[in-house]
Structure formats: C-alpha cells, structure tokens
C-alpha cells in the first residue's frame, strides 16, 4: 500500500543531510580553501595574491556550496517530521526547528555569494576593498549563528519530551544538540579578534567551535536514519494491529 505510506519521501529527505555534508566539505572547505580559513591578520596585498592564485577553485567551491545549501533545509524537514511524531500533541518545537534550518540555509547562501563576488572582481578591485567584502561575508557566516542555535535547541528540547520508553532520538544526542547550539554563542567573540585562538581561523573558533556543527550533523544524520526506521516499524506494527 505504498500510496498510503506516510514515509514515502523520508529516505530522500534523510539522505539530503549526508549529501549536503559531502558538498559542504568538498565545496566550501576543500575547494574554498577554508581548512582553516584565510587569516584576517594578513595584509590586503597578501590577501589579493591568495585570491588571485586560487580564484577558480574558490569560485567552483562556493558554487557547489550554494547548490547543495537547499539540501540542508530538506534534511531539516525530515527532522521536523520525526519531531512531530516524537511529540504528537505539540509541534511548536518541530516548526521552530524547520524555520531554523531554513534561515541557516540562508547563512550558507549569502556569504558564499559574496565570496564568489570577491573572486569575480579580483583582477580589477583594490586589495583593501576585496578584503573588506571577504571579511563581511565571514561576519555573516560566523556571527549569524542564532538561527542554527534555535534549530538545535528546538531539536533537543522536543526529543527530550518524547514519551517513548526508547525515544526516537537518544537523550544524549538531544542534550548534545542543545549544547552545540548554545556553544555557538562563542561566535559572538569572533569580530573582536584578528589573531589567536578566537580569530575566525583560530584553534577554538574554527577547529573546535565551527567544526562542532559538522560533527553534530554527522551524529544527527545517523540517528535520523535510525529514527525513520523506528517510525516505519511502529507504522507497520499499527497496521498489523488494525488488520
């Protein structure tokens, strides 16, 4: 009875998460030369040389990132559908989570568009103006953390209220989501530092804080697949009882 299967497209939505991750790592991180990001402490002239040397790779990387960005929203919708099953009587957190995923998607779009603009005019604009545009994109990218904080906190709060004996999402994953979301408040400090651990390329700000987004997404992707499996089993069992 596939025509009455409420989980028919859930597999596609769930796979959007891992595909987004692969696209982001390849496009934004590797081709975009963001492992780690370019240091804000270096001179405009050094920056111009960096952009001109890597112009086409960065352009291609950011185009890939902007192309895969909607997959994040699709994955967020899969999470919302699971959250609606975890708390069947109240979908406020599920809705907030989806809006958070949607606005986070914009955080992937706008800065990447600006970075493409920087590479596009690297041959004709002055170095200081280009670096200003590049920095502005970073401010949007890191300091615009609040939508993802809202998304991850809604994720955690909702799944913690799952009344099942074995919840759809393990409680430690729910708490981890809340912690990762709250820990992004550290990004508020990024605009104050051009070097050191709290600069955008610093040990704390990039290698720990920023990477938490990706690590949590990996964990959440795995458990989204597991939750869909549990929901399908519940649905099949309820169908068997009804029959």
């Amino acid at each position: 009875m596939t025509e009455r299967d409420p989980y028919r497209y859930m597999g596609v939505l769930a796979w959007s998460g891992p595909i987004f991750l692969l696209g982001a790592i390849l496009g934004w991180a590797v081709l975009g030369h963001n492992l780690p990001p370019y240091s804000p402490a270096r001179s405009p002239e050094e920056f111009l040389e960096f952009i001109q040397t890597n112009q086409y790779q960065i352009q291609l990387g950011m185009i890939i990132m902007m192309t895969v960005a909607p997959l994040y929203l699709m994955w967020g919708y899969a999470v919302t559908r699971i959250m609606q099953k975890a708390d069947a009587y109240n979908d406020i957190m599920a809705t907030l989570q989806l809006w958070g995923a949607g606005f986070t998607m914009l955080v992937f779009f706008v800065p990447c568009g600006l970075w493409i603009g920087v590479t596009f005019r690297a041959d004709s604009m002055d170095a200081a103006s280009l670096r200003f545009m590049f920095d502005t994109a970073w401010m949007f990218f890191d300091t615009g953390f609040s939508p993802v904080t809202m998304q991850f906190c809604a994720f955690g709060v909702c799944f913690l209220s799952d009344p099942r004996e074995v919840p759809l999402m393990p409680r430690w994953v729910s708490w981890l989501g809340i912690w990762v979301g709250i820990s992004f408040f550290v990004f508020m400090l990024m605009p104050f530092f051009k070097e050191g651990p709290l600069a955008r390329d610093g040990m704390l700000m990039f290698w720990i804080e920023f990477s938490l987004f990706f690590w949590f997404l990996v964990i959440a992707c795995v458990y989204v697949f597991k939750a869909i499996g549990k929901l399908k089993a519940e649905h099949a069992a309820s169908g068997a009882v009804a029959a």
Binding site: W175, L176, I182, F185, V186, F193, G196, P197, I208
Partner: protein, 194 residues
C-alpha cells in the same frame, strides 16, 4: 521514594544531561587553557589589569553560588525522599539566594565599564568579559531552569521518575555553574594577589 524499573532508576541516578555537562566542561577546559596560556605570555599586563577587579565582591559571589548549590542539593535530597513540598521550598530558597549573584555581577560589569574597562581595553579584559560573560549566560540558563521547575513542575508527583529526573538534572546543571565559577574566580581575581 524512588521507584520504577531499573532503567527508570538509572535515568534518575545518571540522567542524560551528563552528555551536556561533559561537553560543556570540555569546552570551558579549553577556554581556561587558552586564558592561562595567554597569561603566561603577558603576565605583567594580566597582573596589573586584574588588580582593577574587586576580589571581595568575587568572594561574596563565590559564597552565594556555593550556598545556592547547597540549597539545590537539599531540594534534590527532599525530592528523592518523596517530599515534593520540601523540594519546592528549597528550590525557591536557592533562587532567592542565587539571584544576588546576578545583581552583583551586573553591578560589577557597570562599574568596570563606567571606569573605562571594556572588552577592547586589553587582552586581560577581553578574556575577563569572555569567561565571566559565558559563565553568566550559564547562570541565566540555570536560573531560568530553576524558576521553570518551581512554577511548572507538579511537585505532588515528585516520586515519578520523569519529575525526579528533571529536578536531579537541573541540580546537576546548577552545580556545574558553581564549579565553573570556582575555576574562574581564582584564575581572574586571585592569581595577581599571590
């Protein structure tokens, strides 16, 4: 009286909030390491700047947080006994005492900013506002959780696993707020006095 299955008891004795606590302590440990490393490189500047902090106010805040933690611990003990009214009373006392920490901290921030010491004054004050600010966010979260417990939890059902688990979980979080301050206070306020 704690009842229920072995899984229920485990969820109360070792609630899942520990995942949050361990991750948070890990991130603060990294922040502490960064601050202490910076301190080694600029010990004169850090010592000189830290003398502008009020160690006595810091001590008062330390005592307030310890007292608040003790009151929360009494609430957990009462809840485990099945005494819902007692648990609620101790939580209210903890909120009343701990609110003084926020008032003193806000006074301290306004006094420092009024005297011209802002996050961009020097590296010491950058880290001072960073550490105490992040701690203050945790304090606000903890106070909000305590208030939510007092006004939203059904204390007549304190023997039920889900109710008891919330009290224990918030209690653990509050102790972490206390513990973090016990590292921050000597690191920022007391080291230059030694």
């Amino acid at each position: 009286m704690q009842s229920g299955t072995a899984a229920d008891r485990a969820s109360v004795n070792f609630p899942s909030i520990w995942a949050f606590i361990l991750a948070d302590c890990f991130s603060f440990a990294i922040l502490f390491t960064i601050v202490m490393t910076e301190r080694i490189g600029q010990s004169d500047l850090f010592d000189k700047a830290a003398r502008h902090l009020d160690a006595q106010l810091g001590l008062v805040n330390t005592l307030i947080l310890i007292t608040g933690s003790w009151l929360v611990a009494l609430a957990v003990v009462a809840a485990r006994r099945g005494d819902g009214a007692g648990a609620r009373k101790w939580l209210l006392a903890a909120i009343a005492v701990s609110s003084a920490f926020g008032a003193i901290k806000l006074y301290e921030y306004s006094a420092k900013i009024g005297a011209g010491f802002t996050p961009i004054t020097n590296d010491f004050f950058t880290y001072y506002y960073m550490l105490t600010g992040l701690h203050f966010l945790h304090y606000i979260g903890g106070m909000a959780a305590l208030i939510a417990l007092v006004f939203n939890l059904d204390f007549s059902k304190v023997s039920e696993t889900s109710v008891l688990r919330w009290i224990v979980s918030v209690g653990i979080f509050w102790h972490m707020v206390d513990l973090l301050w016990l590292f921050i206070y000597p690191m920022l306020y007391l080291l230059p006095l030694i």
